[in-house]
């Protein structure tokens, strides 16, 4: 279980936080607080908060009138949901067959060696490493989504240089 809580909020962040709670509430009310909408609500919660904390899950469970264990069960079944804070930078390595055939594993290995196992964030919070089944950029294989942007035809060496550049030890 992730026990990490978001870092201490500033005043400005406080108001943003209120807004987030309001927006989440609105998403739940749009679905009439129906338990069937759990996945949609978790999507919204993750969009707003970045990741799902136990408190967040508990409050969603209460609002949707669901048993907490079911909420955690759903949140951990789907790989899209994260129970840990994301790193400063994110690398999603496409492991679709086209990328695989063109050497995506080498990229992932480099990232895992330097940062963290796929699905995790490096201990210093710098980089989150993930893999995806297919990001649909098969023409650019092997492809990586780096901080939200697709980068194609990468080599392990380029990844290494990239990591050096952002100061990963």
């Amino acid at each position: 279980m992730a026990t990490t809580t978001p870092s201490k909020p500033s005043k400005a962040a406080d108001t943003a936080r209120d807004n987030r709670a309001k927006l989440l509430e609105r998403a739940m009310s749009r679905h009439s607080y129906s338990g069937d909408a759990l996945i949609e609500v978790l999507h919204t919660a993750q969009e707003l908060y970045g990741f799902l904390t136990p408190d967040l899950l508990k409050s969603i469970a209460r609002k949707l009138r669901l048993p907490p264990s079911r909420v955690l069960g759903v949140a951990t079944f789907y790989h899209f949901f994260s129970l840990e804070p994301k790193g400063e930078h994110s690398y999603i390595v496409c492991l679709g067959t086209a990328c695989y055939v063109k050497g995506a594993l080498g990229l992932l290995e480099t990232l895992e060696r330097r940062c963290a196992k796929a699905g995790r964030t490096s201990p210093d919070g710098k980089v989150s490493v993930n893999s995806a089944r297919c990001i649909g950029a098969c023409g650019l294989a092997p492809a990586v989504i780096r901080d939200g942007e697709i980068v194609g035809r990468l080599t392990p060496r380029q990844v290494t240089e990239d990591l050096d550049r952002i100061g990963v030890k």
Partner: protein, 539 residues
């Protein structure tokens, strides 16, 4: 919008477009966007403005134009020319009507008479490159929603189903169940509440057909679903789309809003008494949700775990109501079938497999991208003629179809027609349309290991054979690739193949052994070589 208004808009929009000096289509599919199509489009807009041609030249988006390896792609309608690897600096030349400027782009022009284009037969992708997926009127201009209009005014629901049955259309999601029969089954149920679900949880690694259709022609999918709703008596539809498909989700949201506002969806479709609403459900990263009972569980907000069938969803599906589930490409085929008739559709393809099939070509192939070929085209045509063969002088070794549920097809079957029956006969499946080409550098045992790893990661964990069997099979394959396998391992691997196929709860587990079985069948010598080179079991 009434039916008359629909026809008016079609005429007006067509006339408006004809009056333009040029319409420039910039591919906005994910493949092109990832290599800078957005910058090209911005630059085109800027150049139009700079030249003061806002009234004469229109720049718009388009669905996937197929040749993803040459993106960003831009099509100029006035001279019907397609350009590849377009850079933002070339926008001025594209916008200009000056023939000399055009000459500057000659090197970027793609020969559309080449086999890549000439041998394709486009039904599903017909609108890609000729309309902007974000503009409803564009879809209407190319005849969109006319099939729906025709059906709701002139055909009874059984007549719609009859047309689909006559077309011989089979489900494009993989299994190939006859679509008309499925519709009939749902239509027969007496329940007041029924659902239509579009399975857009395209998850095979290396497959992006459905995403391209959703991004490039979202209204067509909505129209297909509405037709299904009309035929089976459902008033609510859901599209279950992968969370990873951000652009497709955005386009669908736009399209649904447009269609609702124009009364093409909603409480009085085209001013008639027919009601049909569509809602999106965003998947959250679980391949197993492509399995229909898991998909239903997921729409209901639960863990995406399959359950035993029967009962099948047409009898008891979403919230235990009769539910029709088809995939994106199946729905995309519906409007043209209703518009042109089942007989027309049935004239394309082979005896058992009608129409066309969209394939995503990837791997060691020159023309990586999206293609549509008539059923029955041979693998050789698809890979060597349309696909341009193997790059860098490589030699073809195998083609993988059907993703983790499919198989590897060796060279000796290159001339087998690609249809449901023929692929099944050689131990693969049509699947949803991913086609990965491998050359001599591919290690087939490792390919089997790759797919097994995929199944292991995606197993939901409900039934034991799949949950633990995939782990054990992966363990054996990994040891083999490391040169640590034994003959006993190979024997166990084969036993586990049988076990998973015969005892797993759902399709994921039942078909998980397929890549192993097909590589064992055609590339057994590679397994044997690994065993021979192995150091033996212990340590």
């Amino acid at each position: 919008m009434t039916i008359e208004e629909l026809s008016d808009i079609q005429e007006q929009e067509q006339a408006r477009q004809q009056k333009l000096a040029n319409r420039i289509y910039c591919c906005t599919a994910a493949g092109c966007v990832s290599c800078g199509a957005d910058r090209v489009r911005q630059s085109l807009h800027a150049e139009v403005k700079k030249a003061g041609l806002q009234e004469q030249v229109e720049v718009c988006g388009s669905g996937c134009m197929g040749l993803c390896s040459q993106g960003p792609l831009v099509r100029s309608a006035a001279d019907d020319a397609l350009y590849g690897h377009v850079s933002p600096e070339e926008a001025a030349a594209l916008v200009s009507g000056n023939p000399v400027d055009r000459q500057l782009l000659a090197g970027k022009r793609i020969d559309t008479t080449a086999p890549f284009f000439a041998l394709q037969h486009k039904i599903v992708l017909a609108n890609s490159g000729v309309m902007d997926p974000e503009i409803l009127n564009d879809y209407i201009a190319v005849g969109g929603y006319q099939a729906l209009a025709h059906a709701v005014t002139e055909l009874s629901p059984p007549e719609v189903i009859e047309e689909i049955k006559q077309s011989g259309l089979r489900g494009r999601g993989g299994a190939g169940y006859p679509t008309g029969l499925k519709w009939e089954l749902v239509a027969k149920q007496s329940s007041q509440i029924k659902y239509v679900v579009c399975n857009a949880d395209e998850g095979d690694p290396g497959a992006f057909m459905d995403r391209s259709v959703l991004e490039g022609d979202p209204h067509r999918v909505l129209e297909g679903m509405a037709l299904a709703g009309y035929a089976v008596g459902a008033q609510q539809g859901y599209i279950y789309v992968r969370g990873e498909y951000g652009l497709a989700i955005q386009r669908l949201q736009t399209a649904i809003k447009q269609a609702e506002r124009a009364d093409l969806l909603g409480n009085r479709v085209l001013g008639t008494g027919f009601q049909f609403r569509v809602d999106l459900r965003i998947g959250a990263g679980a391949f197993v949700c492509g399995e229909e009972t898991a998909l239903i569980a997921s729409i209901e907000g639960k863990r995406g775990q399959p359950r035993q069938r029967p009962p099948y969803p047409p009898e008891s599906g979403l919230w235990e109501r009769p539910t029709l589930i088809n995939n994106v490409e199946t729905f995309a085929n519906i409007p043209p079938i209703i518009a042109k008739g089942g007989e027309w559709f049935a004239s394309i393809g082979t005896a058992g497999s009608k129409g066309t099939k969209v394939f995503a070509l990837a791997g060691k192939i020159v023309n990586t991208g999206l293609i549509e070929a008539p059923m029955g085209a041979s693998l050789r045509t698809i890979i060597f003629d349309i696909g341009g063969g193997i790059p860098d002088g490589g030699r073809f070794k195998a083609a993988q179809t059907g993703g983790p549920s499919g198989g590897c097809i060796p060279e000796q079957f290159l001339d087998v027609p690609v249809d449901y029956e023929s692929l099944a006969k050689i131990g693969s499946i049509m699947g949803s349309g991913g086609l990965i080409v491998m050359d001599e550098s591919s290690d087939m045992v490792d390919v089997a290991r790759f797919f097994m790893e995929f199944c292991m990661d995606e197993s939901c964990g409900k039934c034991i054979p799949c949950r633990v069997g995939t782990v054990q099979m992966h363990d054996i394959l990994a040891r083999m690739t490391r040169g640590e396998g034994t003959p006993a391992d190979l024997d166990m691997l084969e036993q586990l193949c049988t076990l998973l196929r015969e005892t797993s709860l759902c399709g994921l587990g039942q078909t998980a052994p397929n890549p192993v079985l097909s590589t064992l069948r055609f590339f057994r010598h590679e397994y044997d070589a690994k065993l021979a080179a192995s150091r033996g079991g212990a340590q």
